[in-house]
C-alpha cells in the first residue's frame, strides 16, 4: 500500500486511483549498443479500452484524463459534490484538461500527474503549467515513481501531495522536502531568486 503525504504529513488516502488496463505494448529499446535509459512509451488508449474502464459508482475517484474527456457527462453530478479528480500521464497535456473545464480547473478538488519513471521529468512542467497558467489552487498530487530524491523538485513545481512508491519511507520523504534551504531560482513556490535577495546585503565576499 502506497503512502500518501499531503503537505508535510502522512495522511489517509480517501481517493481511489483508477488506471486504464495496462497497454499490451512491450517496451522498446533503443537501437545500438548503448542503452542510456529505459524508454517511456506513450500508449494512446482505444475508445473501447476507455469505455471499458471501470469507475466505482460511489466515493472519491481519481480517473484518467482520457476517461474524463470521453465520458465527462457521466460524471457531472459527482463533480458537483467533489468526488471526481483527474490525473494526467506524463505526456498528456494540461491544456486538454483545462479546455474540457472551460478553464475552470478549480472545479476539480484533485489533479494528479503521473511520473511513470522518475527520470521522465515532463510532469514537473505539467505542475508548473497547471499552477501558473491555469491558476489551479486545489490538491496537485504526484503519482507513480515518486521517490524521496525528487521530493524537493515536486514541491517547488507546485505539487502538494505525493503518493509514494511502495518501497519509500514516508518520514524520510517528508524530510527530503527540505533538502535545500534556499534554492537559487524562482518557480511555482514564488521564491525570490537568490540574486534578488542579495540586493542591499553587504557583499560577503
Amino acid at each position: 500500500m502506497a503512502d500518501l503525504i499531503r503537505g508535510e504529513s502522512l495522511v489517509r488516502d480517501e481517493w481511489t486511483w483508477i488506471k486504464l488496463p495496462e497497454a499490451a505494448e512491450p517496451v522498446r529499446k533503443a537501437a545500438g549498443k548503448v542503452v542510456m535509459f529505459k524508454l517511456t512509451g506513450e500508449p494512446a488508449a482505444s475508445d473501447a479500452v476507455i469505455d471499458a474502464c471501470e469507475v466505482p459508482a460511489t466515493g472519491k475517484v481519481l480517473i484518467p484524463l482520457s476517461v474524463w474527456l470521453r465520458r465527462r457527462e457521466d460524471f457531472a453530478s459527482r463533480v458537483a459534490v467533489g468526488e471526481i479528480g483527474v490525473w494526467l500521464d506524463s505526456h498528456e497535456e494540461p491544456a486538454d484538461l483545462a479546455d474540457s473545464l472551460d478553464g475552470e480547473v478549480n472545479r476539480l478538488p484533485l489533479i494528479g500527474v503521473n511520473f511513470p519513471k522518475f527520470i521522465d521529468g515532463r510532469g514537473y512542467s505539467a505542475g508548473f503549467i497547471l499552477r501558473n497558467r491555469y491558476g489551479y489552487r486545489n490538491e496537485l498530487r504526484a503519482l507513480g515513481d515518486v521517490l524521496r530524491d525528487q521530493m524537493f523538485f515536486f514541491r517547488r513545481t507546485g505539487f502538494d501531495a505525493y503518493l509514494l512508491r511502495a518501497d519509500q519511507k514516508p518520514e524520510r520523504c517528508i524530510a527530503a522536502l527540505r533538502d535545500f534551504s534556499t534554492p537559487y531560482q524562482t518557480s511555482t513556490d514564488g521564491n525570490l531568486p537568490v540574486f534578488r535577495r542579495r540586493i542591499g546585503q553587504a557583499n560577503p565576499a
Binding site: 517511456t40 497558467r133 531568486p193 565576499a205
Partner: protein, 560 residues
C-alpha cells in the same frame, strides 16, 4: 571572479549531504543501481571501464589558484596524481574510488567547488570564451550572465530530468570563441546603438550522432529576460522533446522536426506566461553579478617593454612561444597567456598534480591568482604583464607547460576515448600520440600553420571532431576500431561541419593519412592560406584523391 556567499555555501553543503546519503543507501543496498545512476550522474559520477570517473564542474572555466591547488591535492590523495581537462572546461578524475566520492565532494565544497550537473539529462556546465574580460574584441563581458544563468540552472526544479543533456554556451566578442552554433542553446551577447545588452538566441545546434548548426530563434532578446525566455525554451523541450530514443532526444531533433520558426513561435507563446514576472533580472541583480568580475587591481603599464623586445629578438624559442601562446589584451602592457596541455607524448588535456601546483604558483605570481580552462583543453593566465612574459616562459618550460603549439596541428582536442570511457567505440589518445610523434618537428609544425585537429572516440563527439579543420572519429566495424576522417570543419564565426573524405582507416594508417592531407595542402596553398582556407577553396576532392589514390597504389604494391 565569483565568490560564494552564505547562500551558495549552504546549497553546496546541502548537496554534499544529499549525495552522501544517496551513496550510503546505494552501498547498503537500499537504493538500487538503476535508481542511483541518474542521481550519481547529476553529481558527475560515471562508472567507467576501469573505475568510476568523477567530473568536477568549473563554471564557465574560471578557477582560482586556491581551487587548483585543492584539485591537485585531491588528484594526489584520491587518484593517481593526475587529472584531465575536458572540452566543457571541466576537470575529470579517472581513478577515484566510489566510496570516496562523497568525501571528494566535501573537499571540493571547502574551495567553493562541486560536481553538480556535470553529467546526466540536465542543464550542464555553461561554457564561454576563455578570454572573457580581457579580449580586445570583447563587446560584452559574458561572465556575469554566465553566473546568473549558472544560478538559474542549478537544481532548476522543472528541468532536472530532461529528455537528454542540455548544453549552453555564451559569447560576447566579435569572434565567437564559445562555439555557440554547436550548442543546445548558444547566446551571442552584443549591444544595440544605445549600449543596451541584447542576446541573439541560437537553439538546436549540436554535435553527436546528428551534427547540426543551431538556428536563431530570437535576434535581440534584452538581457533581463534571459532566465524567463530560457525557461520557455526548456519547457517546450521538456514537454515535447523525444524520450523514446536516446539518440533522437536532444533539442536539435525537436527543432528540426517542427522547424525553427514553429519552435520559436511555441517558445514565444510559452514565454508570455512568465515574461516580466518575478524571474526578470533587475539592474541591481546584474550590478551584483558584475561586481564579481571587476578587473584585477592591475597597475597601469607602458604599451611597450624594451627588455621584452630584446628577449624576443635574441631568443628564438621565446619568440616562437610568444607567437603561438600569447594573445593581445584590452589593457596596455598586459597579455593573455595560454599554457599548453598538449606536449608531445601526453594525452591532450592531461595534467599532473605537480603541474597543477606549478600553474597555481604561476597564477599567483603573474596573473592575480586566477586562471581559465579553455574548451581546447589548455589553461589561460589572463592578466600577465608584458614585462613578466620571459620569466613566466622560463618557469612554464620547467613544468612542460610551454609547448609553442597553440592553434597548431598538435594542439589537438581529444576525448578520453576507449582507454577510459565505456561509451567509446575506439581509442583516441593513442591516435593523438601517434600524430604528435608524426609531427614532432617544430619548424615543420609552424610552417603548416594554424590547424585544428579534433578527435572523438565515438559519435557522442566529446572531442568536437565535426568542427575540426581535420576531424577524426573512432568507429566500430565488426568489433574492431576504425577511424573516419573529415576535413573542412570549423568553429568561430565561420562555424562549419566537416565532410568525411571516404572510407575509414585502421589506427596505424591515421598518421600517414594526416601527413598526406598536410602535404596536399602545403603544395596547393597560397602564401596567406591556412589549411582550412585551402580546403574551402579547393573542396575535398584533391585531398580525397591523394589520400585514397596513395593507399590504392600502396595496396597494389602489397598485393602485386
Amino acid at each position: 571572479m565569483y565568490r560564494y556567499d552564505d547562500y551558495d555555501r549552504a546549497l553546496v553543503r546541502e548537496r554534499v549531504a544529499q549525495y552522501r546519503d544517496q551513496l550510503q543507501r546505494n552501498l547498503a543496498g537500499e537504493l538500487s543501481d538503476d535508481d542511483f545512476r541518474p542521481l550519481r550522474l547529476q553529481n558527475g559520477l560515471y562508472i567507467q571501464r576501469h573505475a568510476p570517473m568523477l567530473r568536477i564542474a568549473i563554471p564557465y572555466g574560471m578557477l582560482s589558484s586556491i581551487q587548483l591547488r585543492k584539485l591537485a591535492d585531491i588528484a594526489r590523495r584520491y587518484d593517481r596524481g593526475y587529472a584531465h581537462f575536458t572540452t566543457r572546461q571541466n576537470l575529470q578524475l579517472n581513478w577515484p574510488k566510489l566510496e570516496d566520492t562523497a568525501d571528494i565532494l566535501a573537499e571540493l565544497a571547502t574551495v567553493e567547488m562541486h560536481a553538480i550537473q556535470t553529467s546526466g539529462n540536465c542543464i550542464r556546465n555553461i561554457t564561454t570564451d576563455p578570454f572573457a574580460g580581457v579580449a580586445p574584441d570583447e563587446v560584452v563581458d559574458p561572465r556575469p550572465y554566465c553566473e546568473m544563468l549558472r544560478q538559474w540552472s542549478t537544481f532548476h526544479p522543472e528541468f532536472a530530468f530532461l529528455p537528454r543533456k542540455f548544453k549552453i554556451a555564451i559569447s560576447g566578442s566579435l569572434e565567437d570563441r564559445a562555439v555557440t552554433y554547436a550548442h543546445d542553446v548558444g547566446l551571442q551577447l552584443y549591444r544595440d546603438a544605445s549600449g543596451e545588452v541584447l542576446a541573439r538566441v541560437i537553439v538546436g545546434g549540436g554535435m553527436g550522432r546528428t551534427p547540426i548548426l543551431g538556428s536563431v530563434i530570437h535576434e535581440a532578446l534584452p538581457w533581463r529576460h534571459l532566465p524567463t525566455y530560457l525557461d520557455a525554451v526548456l519547457r517546450v523541450y521538456n514537454r515535447h522533446g523525444r524520450r523514446d530514443n536516446a539518440y533522437k532526444a536532444r533539442i536539435k531533433i525537436l527543432v528540426k522536426a517542427i522547424g525553427a520558426d514553429e519552435f520559436a513561435r511555441q517558445v514565444e507563446a510559452e514565454w508570455q506566461l512568465e515574461r516580466d514576472g518575478i524571474a526578470t533580472v533587475t539592474d541591481e541583480e546584474l550590478a551584483i553579478a558584475r561586481s564579481a568580475f571587476s578587473d584585477p587591481a592591475a597597475p597601469p603599464r607602458p604599451e611597450n617593454d624594451t627588455e621584452f623586445e630584446a628577449k624576443l629578438a635574441e631568443d628564438k624559442g621565446f619568440a616562437r612561444w610568444v607567437s603561438r601562446c600569447v594573445r593581445g589584451h584590452k589593457r596596455a602592457g598586459y597579455r593573455a597567456v595560454t599554457l599548453s596541455l598538449k606536449p608531445h607524448g601526453v594525452a591532450p588535456g592531461d595534467i599532473t598534480s605537480q603541474q597543477m601546483d606549478a600553474v597555481a604558483d604561476l597564477a599567483d605570481r603573474y596573473s592575480f591568482g586566477e586562471l581559465r580552462v579553455t574548451h581546447e583543453q589548455n589553461l589561460v593566465l589572463a592578466d600577465v604583464a608584458l614585462a613578466d612574459l620571459h620569466a613566466l616562459w622560463i618557469e612554464a618550460r620547467k613544468h612542460n607547460l610551454a609547448t609553442p603549439n597553440i592553434g597548431l596541428l598538435t594542439d589537438m582536442i581529444c576525448c578520453p576515448g576507449g582507454d577510459f570511457c565505456s561509451l567509446a567505440n575506439a581509442k583516441s589518445i593513442p591516435i593523438a600520440q601517434a600524430i604528435q610523434a608524426e609531427f614532432d618537428d617544430l619548424d615543420y609544425l609552424h610552417d603548416i600553420g594554424e590547424l585544428e585537429l579534433n578527435i572523438s572516440g565515438c559519435m557522442n563527439s566529446c572531442g568536437h571532431h565535426h568542427v575540426g579543420h581535420i576531424g577524426i572519429l573512432g568507429v566500430d566495424k565488426a568489433g574492431s576500431e576504425w577511424y573516419q576522417v573529415s576535413i573542412g570543419g570549423a568553429q568561430g564565426n565561420t562555424t562549419a561541419l566537416g565532410d568525411v573524405i571516404g572510407p575509414s582507416f585502421a589506427a596505424s594508417e591515421v598518421p600517414g593519412v594526416i601527413r598526406t592531407l598536410i602535404e596536399t595542402y602545403v603544395e596547393a596553398r597560397t602564401p596567406e592560406e591556412r589549411f582550412l582556407d585551402t580546403v574551402r577553396r579547393l573542396g575535398i576532392a584533391p585531398f580525397k584523391s591523394r589520400v585514397y589514390g596513395e593507399s590504392a597504389r600502396k595496396a597494389e604494391v602489397t598485393h602485386g
